[in-house]
Amino acid sequence: MTQPRHHPNQPIDADQQVLVEALTRRLHAEVDGYDAATRSRLNRARQAALAAAPSPGWAARAWALPVAAVACAAALALLFSTHWAGLPEAAMTALPAAMPADELAWITSAEAAGLNRQDPAFLAFVGSLADDDFDGAMP
């Protein structure tokens, strides 16, 4: 193809203007002359496109989804961390109020079981516990 003699930045001259107007007029006439079937098909295509378009409300709120997801994950992480980290400490601090853990272990040990059978005084002491309110103190 022959190269243009004009610089690309040069504005359109009068001849070219006439040519452009004739062409665009013809193109508009062609487009206006599309038959009903073509118009109908374009209409259906447009309706399908409109139905597929994202909702503006959803688009405006789209930023909220990742923020909500991160917030939920953080809340769950906080809940689990406090629950699992706090449970052993709470259990250990709750025991002394009822009975010292070492005393409870001693009473249920094999040695204590032997004493139970051999020492009538110990048996009397244990029996007295059933009658009195036990305050955790040993005799």
């Binding site: 193809m1 022959t2 190269q3 243009p4 003699r5 004009h6 610089h7 690309p8 930045n9 040069q10 359109i12 001849d15 070219q16 040519l19 452009v20 004739a22 062409l23 665009t24 007029r25 013809r26 193109l27 006439a29 062609e30 487009v31 206006d32 002359g33 599309y34 038959d35 073509t38 118009r39 098909r41 374009l42 295509a45 447009r46 399908a48 496109a49 409109l50 597929a52 378009a53 994202p54 909702s55 503006p56 409300g57 688009a59 405006a60």
Partner: protein, 197 residues
């Protein structure tokens, strides 16, 4: 503020998102209604059959609405023609593969086959028969024989009225390329006009 005004303001706020959605849909409808026929004519220049061109325009409208429907309506024209251009190129590639034209030519090589592909488009359509003007028909033929890029530049800049930057965005080329393609197109069309006379 009276209680009535307060109630109406609250109602307006509840209705605002729905009104905005309806306005956006209406704007998109108007935009697509305005460009669809010209988009079809542009696609017809590049493919053989009107049915194929209609498929291309339908695909382009669907992809455009899905991808760019939520964008500002001022951005729509170049984005729509960018999508349309991509669909035309995709179709041309599929056609080449279907016909067994296996080659490693670049997209610019499409220009070389423009003459062969556009020969069929010289067949007069209903609108052309309706107008029946020899000169403008010769110009349309000359436009159809232009390389794809030159014709696209002409149509987008001078028919669709896009700016240089929007045309560059739509075609995926630099603004300098747009100016060069346009002047080559105008030069070729003027040569065709001289030959016709």
């Amino acid at each position: 503020m009276t209680l009535t005004e307060l109630v109406f303001n609250c109602a307006d706020r509840r209705e605002a998102p729905h009104a905005a959605a309806a306005a956006r849909t209406r704007a998109l409808d108007l935009f697509l209604r305005g460009v669809e026929a010209r988009a079809l004519r542009m696609a017809e220049f590049s493919v053989r059959e009107r049915a194929d061109a209609l498929d291309i325009v339908q695909d382009a409208m669907l992809s455009f609405a899905k991808t760019y429907g939520a964008h500002s309506d001022g951005e729509w024209p170049p984005l729509f023609y960018r999508v349309l251009n991509a669909k035309i190129i995709d179709f041309s590639r599929r056609e080449r593969v279907r016909r067994g034209w296996r080659s490693w030519r670049s997209l610019d090589a499409l220009d070389e086959t423009a003459d062969a592909r556009l020969t069929d488009l010289a067949e007069p359509g209903p609108a052309r028969r309706l107008a029946g003007e020899a000169l403008s028909a010769a110009l349309i033929d000359a436009l159809g024989r232009l390389p794809d890029r030159q014709r696209q530049t002409f149509l987008l800049r001078l028919w669709e009225g896009l700016s240089v930057s929007d045309t560059a965005l739509a075609m995926g080329v630099s603004e300098g390329s747009v100016k060069t393609h346009l002047h080559r197109a105008l030069h070729a069309l003027r040569e065709a006009l001289v030959e016709h006379r």
